[in-house]
């Protein structure tokens, strides 16, 4: 992906967020919109400057400022990080039907598989030693109302 396109991804996402904000909030009173208006101006000016800088030097590599920049290549390497946010989605969506504990176990095992775990003992040990106690801590000590398994159970 050309560097100048990378530079514009976050500004575009911010502009989309600002657009959605104003889509719902535009009809409010002037007092309600004073602070958001000022912030929107700051965001628009900042995005304009960022876009100008990106287009002026379209081949200048993006400085991430993050020491952990990882240059892994390949489809699997690109998808692996995104699995952390995509895998939980259906599980959380359906966990009221299947129960929180099974959903969390599936999530943990799924993530281990995606991240390259292969030793079978870890697929048993991690849920038993960490996932189940964590679930019990949240449910019975912190009294979080986690969805229960169907037909009774924890």
């Amino acid at each position: 992906m050309p560097p100048w396109i990378k530079e514009l991804i976050v500004p575009m996402l911010m502009l989309a967020g600002v657009g959605a904000y104003w889509f719902d909030a535009a009809s409010l009173s002037s007092i309600a919109l004073a602070f958001p208006t000022a912030l929107t101006v700051v965001i628009l000016v900042s995005v304009a400057i960022i876009a100008f800088q990106a287009l002026r030097a379209p081949n200048k590599e993006v400085a991430t400022g993050h020491p952990q920049t990882d240059e892994a290549t390949g489809v699997a390497a690109v998808l692996r990080p995104w699995s952390l946010v995509l895998l939980p989605l259906p599980l959380i969506f359906f966990w009221r039907e299947i129960g929180a504990l099974p959903a969390l176990m599936i999530l943990a095992i799924g993530l281990m598989l995606v991240l390259g775990a292969r030793r079978r003992r870890w697929f048993l040990l991690l849920p038993a030693l960490l996932i189940v106690p964590t679930y019990l801590l949240f449910k019975f000590v912190l009294y979080v109302r986690l969805p229960e398994m169907p037909f009774g159970g924890v």
Binding site: K6, E7, I9, V10, P11, V18, A20, Y21, W22, D24, A25, L28, S29, I31, A32, F35, P36, L39, T40, V42, I43, S46, I49, I50, Q53, V62, A63, T64, G65, H66, P67, Q68, D70, A72, R80, P81, S83, L84, V85, P88, L89, I92, L104, L107, A108, I109, L111, L115, A117, W122, L126, L130, I131, T134, F138, L142, Y143, V144, R145, L146
Partner: protein, 508 residues
């Protein structure tokens, strides 16, 4: 009873078996809670509040305050070792702390953080012993204009300390502030909520914090086998952690300045330890002889942040007890604990309940010593986490994060919010933006927005003149403008220097 009598009584009360055991228990719980993404001091204090029903008021408050204070210690451990701050106030600690971990110097960073926290807390609570009686007058001077400027400064400071693009940090901070304005406002209007009841109370900070810091960081390391490279992994050294406890004393000016700044900010209701940490870090960087090290592994930076955020708790508790105004969820729960025991915090509280108040402060001082021991043990134990393969570490932290986000309101919406924030934070980190600025904006938006609306109501059409007519507000405004100008100017000079160096090299 005079002040010395109260102090004497306070210490005598604290050195009993039950208070000491409660301090040890509370400290241990606080450090574990602080180190765990998804668990907060408010959660721990709220859950354990009923446990204090059967205790005496002093013992109950001692237990809860030990948890409250030690959470910051615990949050620093994960901030340094895993770049996943367990609490918002440890965000800035991660900037340099994790960089030090990657250089194989995590033990030094941990020792510095624990030592600086201990000194910050010790000095802050010791000053409280003598000053609590005269604190109310100072805190009451801060009105709507001052609080608004302080909230804006909290985000602007990030632009000044950023080692990356200032304009990207400003954009991130402004975006965070805008997101933070979502919700029902004091006029009763629903602002950008899309009629979603989960957004009516405003965007919850905890899921955004977990997403932006924890989930995004886990995404960043998903392709790595370990958190840090194998050759610098072997840095689990108990001796170095202990020897590094005295490192803060090598930077006495930084330490004293950060402590007083943190304590001062803690006196302001709702300002918070996060603001204290960022302000102190910014000031330390500007005063440092090696400012370029900040953001790349500066022990000084770690010390500035940690001494300030722990000193802030002293100021916050002072405001809570003396003014009866809680600055956070946790101090609100502490107030609730006092009420539960039939006590009413406020300007007369110190005069009426001297032995209790001084007992609480003395317990907080004694707790600092206990926290050092517990934190060193926790630091050594947690150091092993960087040797755990990511294929095991990431699933565990994702489970904690998911449950932590859900636990706030028993709502799947918060989990989705966390995941969205995580994805956005990941993209931001990949392209040089600052998730910290977004989170800071979300945290401070309600303060800034509410105070601005109050200004409209108090000052009418001439609301903007309040910034210049009030000396305190004018000083804060000047400081804010100077901070921003410094950040932008420094960034411009660095870019010009880099461009000149590059053109010089091309000429050769």
């Amino acid at each position: 009873m005079d002040i010395f009598g109260n102090i004497q009584t306070g210490f005598a009360t604290v050195f009993g078996l039950e208070p000491i055991l409660l301090m040890i228990l509370g400290t241990s719980i606080g450090i574990v809670v602080g180190a765990t993404p998804g668990l907060s001091s408010g959660m721990a204090v709220a859950v354990l509040l009923p446990v204090t029903f059967t205790m005496s008021p002093l013992n109950g408050i001692i237990f809860l305050i030990s948890i409250y204070i030690s959470v910051t210690y615990g949050g620093a451990l994960t901030a340094i070792l895993l770049n996943t701050p367990g609490a918002p106030e440890n965000t800035v600690t991660a900037l340099d702390g994790f960089a030090l971990t990657q250089q194989g110097r995590s033990a030094e960073a941990l020792g510095m953080a624990i030592g600086a926290s201990a000194v910050g807390g010790l000095v802050s609570y010791t000053i409280m012993l003598g000053a609590i009686g005269s604190v109310a007058a100072i805190a009451l001077k801060f009105g709507a204009p001052e609080l608004f400027l302080i909230a804006i400064a909290g985000v602007a400071i990030l632009g000044a300390v950023s080692s990356g693009s200032v304009i990207k940090t400003i954009a991130s901070g402004a975006f965070g502030l805008l997101v933070g304005t979502i919700g029902i406002i004091p006029t009763g209007e629903w602002r950008a909520t899309f009629s979603n009841p989960y957004l009516a109370e405003s965007v919850p900070v905890v899921p955004v914090l977990i997403g932006m810091f924890v989930v995004s960081e886990l995404m960043m390391i998903a392709n790595r086998e370990f958190v840090v490279d194998a050759e610098i992994k072997g840095q689990r050294n108990f001796g170095v952690i202990v020897r590094s406890l005295v490192l803060p004393l090598r930077h006495p000016v930084n330490l004293i300045r950060s402590t007083f700044l943190g304590m001062g900010i803690g006196l302001i209701p709702a300002a918070g330890a996060t603001l204290a940490a960022f302000s102190s870090y910014s000031l330390a960087r500007r005063s440092s002889r090696q400012p370029d090290e900040y953001g790349k592994g500066s022990l000084e930076g770690v010390g500035a942040a940690e001494s300030a955020n722990n000193a802030c708790s002293g100021g916050a508790i002072m405001t809570t007890l003396v003014l009866g105004v809680p600055g956070s969820v946790t101090t609100a729960i502490l107030l609730g604990a006092l009420t539960m025991h039939g006590l009413q915090a406020g300007p007369n509280f110190v005069a009426q309940q001297g032995p209790l108040v001084y007992g609480i402060i003395c317990a907080a001082i004694v707790s600092q010593a206990i926290m050092i021991v517990a934190a060193v043990g926790g630091a050594y134990g947690l150091s092993g986490a960087i040797s755990v393969p990511t294929r095991l570490l990431i699933p565990v932290l994702m489970i904690f994060s998911t449950l932590g986000a859900f636990a706030l309101r028993n709502s799947e919406f918060d989990v989705y919010l966390m995941l969205a924030a995580g994805a956005f934070g990941f993209v931001m980190k990949k392209t040089g933006y600052s998730p910290a600025a977004v989170v800071m904006g979300v945290i401070l938006a309600s303060i800034a927005d509410n105070e601005l609306i109050r200004m409209f109501q108090l000052f009418g059409d001439e609301w903007y003149l309040a910034f210049v007519r009030r000396p305190l507000a004018a000083s804060l405004l000047a400081l804010l403008v100077a901070t921003l100008a410094y950040g932008i100017g420094r960034n411009f000079l660095v870019r010009r220097r880099v461009a000149q160096t590059a053109s010089g090299q091309r000429a050769l």
